[in-house]
């Protein structure tokens, strides 16, 4: 056969738009799931996963703490302590599942929403908030945590991830990289160039697309007519769609994909099918473009409730455990609130500090001019 199998069908009828792309309710087809929304553990022949009760409880703790951190940040923004916040509400499982699949030597390249992954990489939540408070553009050392800075220019980090993965291959190391991006980002040239580079160099990179159904106000249908995981096949590497609200499935699929990549088999695309429960950011007003019913329907698939149901059902955690998590959650909230409120403003000369790694005459000159100017105010009040 010459023509892709779909061609003939299309020749006769108009191209079919898969109906599982936008789902107000009901699980879409072709979705790896290990835990039903009701908390039932199911098996998937291709993604076996063995977990201990400790591991399940640890995942639960992650999910709860990450959500708490996120809620705290949202309210700090409302109180004027942050300039902006991009909430991960609803996407905790996709982030914790994939984040916990990483080995210590693996490296993650996030967008601006991967607070859950940052958590798994042990980045101090207060460091994340610095950027949203306007104190810096990224306050942590990426190489210390193997977690790159947040990237706002949509899609550009996928190329950095691919280059980093090419470096791993050159080093002969068996680390792997995850590049996070969104459904909207899939349209950017950079993301597709990353697919090409990763494929031809067989780079150990996993492309992890959180399809949260929305790119600000645009539904996924504005970006693609077919499920996003299928994009990979056009570039010659495997794509998998996983239930992004199922932390176990995300863990299992990402672990598989990282191992696939680190073993020299090249990249994998994972589409984590999930939902952005909140606004795009605190500046956004989703009532202008989407129906409450849609959001309501997704509540039934909540990633935390479903793991809780599983723990309850199987008797894997007792009240003491839940109380302890609750206490940790309170403690985290407190630390975040206080930490943000007492976060010092940077010195204005931060502007000149890291423009270049090596001395630069123009920057030195402008810094000196600024300092003289600031000093010219009585008491140097502007400094």
């Amino acid at each position: 056969m010459t023509v892709k199998s779909t061609t003939r069908a299309r020749k006769k009828a108009a191209p079919a738009v898969p109906d599982n792309l936008r789902t107000g309710a009901g699980a879409p087809a072709e979705l790896v799931q290990l835990l039903t929304p009701e908390g039932e553990r199911v098996e998937h022949p291709e993604f076996p996963l063995v977990t201990t009760p400790e591991e399940l409880r640890a995942l639960y703790r992650d999910l709860v703490l990450v959500r708490r951190f996120d809620a705290e940040a949202t309210s700090l923004q409302r109180q004027g302590e942050l300039g902006l916040w991009a909430s991960l509400l609803g996407q905790e499982a996709a982030q914790v599942g994939s984040g916990r699949a990483m080995r210590p030597g693996d490296y993650a390249f996030p967008t601006y929403r991967e607070h859950g992954v940052a958590w798994c990489r042990d980045v101090d939540p207060l460091n994340l908030l610095g950027m949203f408070r306007g104190v810096n553009h990224g306050g942590w050392d990426p190489n210390e945590k193997n977690f790159h800075l947040y990237t706002i220019v949509i899609g550009s980090q996928t190329l950095h991830a691919t280059g980093y993965a090419m470096g791993i291959t050159k080093d002969g190391a068996d680390d792997a990289v995850i590049a996070y991006f969104g459904d909207g980002a899939s349209s950017q040239g950079d993301v597709n160039e990353a697919f090409t580079f990763a494929s031809v160099y067989n780079a150990p990179v996993v492309f992890f697309c959180q399809n949260n159904q929305w790119a600000i106000s645009e539904p996924t249908t504005t970006q693609t007519k077919i499920p996003l995981y299928r994009r990979a096949s056009g570039f010659g590497f495997p794509g998998v769609r996983v239930d992004g609200n199922d932390v176990l499935a995300c863990l299992a699929v990402t672990r598989w994909a990282l191992d696939h990549a680190r073993s020299g088999n090249g990249p994998v695309l994972i589409e984590a099918f999930t939902y952005r429960m909140g606004a795009h950011t605190t500046s956004d007003d989703p009532t202008r473009y989407r129906l409450t019913e849609e959001t309501e329907a997704w509540k039934a698939k909540d990633p935390i409730l479903r793991l809780k149901a599983h723990l309850d059902k199987e008797g894997l955690a007792d009240e003491a455990f839940f109380a302890e998590v609750e206490a940790q959650s309170e403690q985290l909230g407190l630390r975040v609130r206080e930490g943000v409120r007492t976060m010092p403003d940077p010195d204005p000369t931060l502007i000149f500090d890291h423009v270049y790694a090596e001395p630069h005459t123009l920057v030195d000159e402008e810094r000196a001019e600024y300092e003289a100017y600031a000093a010219s105010f009585e008491g140097g009040e502007n400094l």
């Binding site: 040239g189 645009e218 502007i351 423009v355």
Partner: protein, 324 residues
């Protein structure tokens, strides 16, 4: 039309009129439909003109500008919205190598009536990539026209003129001024590329455009209390520059200070200084001074007040100019 509108609404009305007046006008961009754009500049337009004329696009700026070029070749008059200044760069190739050059390359056989609207500049406490002033890149690029209004009336009429232009226009919207109100008149009083003397004066000329015009007005008001009469020229057009108006002013005052948010190094102030020094050499009593951003990435918002030119920095430059 007439009445007090803020800049955002004046732009929205300009788009509405343009859509009404010419069925070939189409709007394209990310989130410009139901959401009305992140700044609501296209608010209500998709509802009234349909998805066919107010088009939510995939998230790909090169794709947006590239397909706008194709639509222009088919006889359409696309008005593109780039969501924020910092996100125009993926489209830079299409803008610089294609949009700007198509008319010349085709020996005039095709026209490129494409308007690229970009909310630009800082001062709104935003995160990285949301506060930049990149007019120098566009101004240096032959084939583009570049303009930036400073008030509601100009916002309205300049946008309509830009859309009517048969050349590509980079239309830079001073986002921190979106909510400033002003009277919008019934007809434009100036052609698109004319500068305007906003305030007459005798001691020095402040030259600005877009968001910095207001800062210059504040500075001139403060200077007046010290008995200094500063003239202000609102360039309105960044490329081409209405040098005739600027030169006439500088020849009268003998001193000029250019103010913009963009970095000073290789910024628009350099061109104005070079040109004015050449054309007004014997009139200048001081070098043309420049007040602008530093040679550094736009900083985190908690220090942006230091980065952005303000009243004090403008007056400091005035002092220095007068001290020559």
């Amino acid at each position: 039309m007439a009445g007090q509108l803020n800049i955002a609404k004046a732009l929205n009305e300009a788009l509405r009129k343009s859509l009404e007046n010419d069925p070939k006008t189409v709007l394209m961009g990310e989130d410009i439909g139901k959401l009305g754009g992140v700044f609501r500049i296209t608010d209500g337009l998709q509802k009234d003109f349909g998805e066919d004329r107010v088009i939510d696009t995939p998230l790909a700026e090169s794709g947006i500008v590239g397909t706008a070029i194709g639509l222009a070749l088919r006889g359409y008059r696309p008005v593109v919205e780039i969501q924020f200044d910092g996100f125009v760069y993926p489209a830079f190739d299409q803008i610089v190598t294609q949009l700007a050059k198509m008319h010349a390359r085709a020996l005039g056989h095709v026209k490129m009536p494409v308007t690229v609207r970009i909310p630009y500049g800082g001062g709104i406490g935003a995160v990285e990539h949301h506060s930049e002033s990149h007019e120098a890149y566009f101004a240096h690029t032959a084939g583009l026209r570049v303009v930036s209004p400073s008030n509601a009336n100009d916002a309205h009429w300049m946008l309509r003129q830009a859309i009517e232009s048969d050349d590509p226009v980079i239309f830079l919207e001073p986002k921190r001024r979106y909510w400033d109100k002003g009277e919008v008149e019934d007809a434009p009083s100036l052609p698109l590329h004319a500068a305007r003397i906003v305030r007459p004066g005798t001691d020095a000329t402040l030259i600005a455009y877009g968001p910095m015009v207001k800062v210059c007005q504040e500075a001139a008001a403060a200077a007046e209390e010290d008995g200094r009469r500063l003239e202000i020229v609102d360039l309105r057009s960044i490329s081409p520059i209405d040098f005739a108006t600027v030169e006439e002013s500088v020849k009268r005052t003998g001193r000029a200070i250019v103010v913009h948010e963009a970095p000073v190094f290789m910024g628009l102030g350099a061109e104005l200084a070079a040109r004015l020094t050449e054309s007004c050499f014997y009139h200048l009593e001081a070098p043309v001074l420049r007040v602008g951003g530093y040679h550094a990435p736009y900083p985190p918002s908690r220090v942006e007040e230091t980065y952005l030119p303000d009243l004090d920095r403008v007056l400091d430059a005035v002092d220095r100019a007068l001290a020559f």
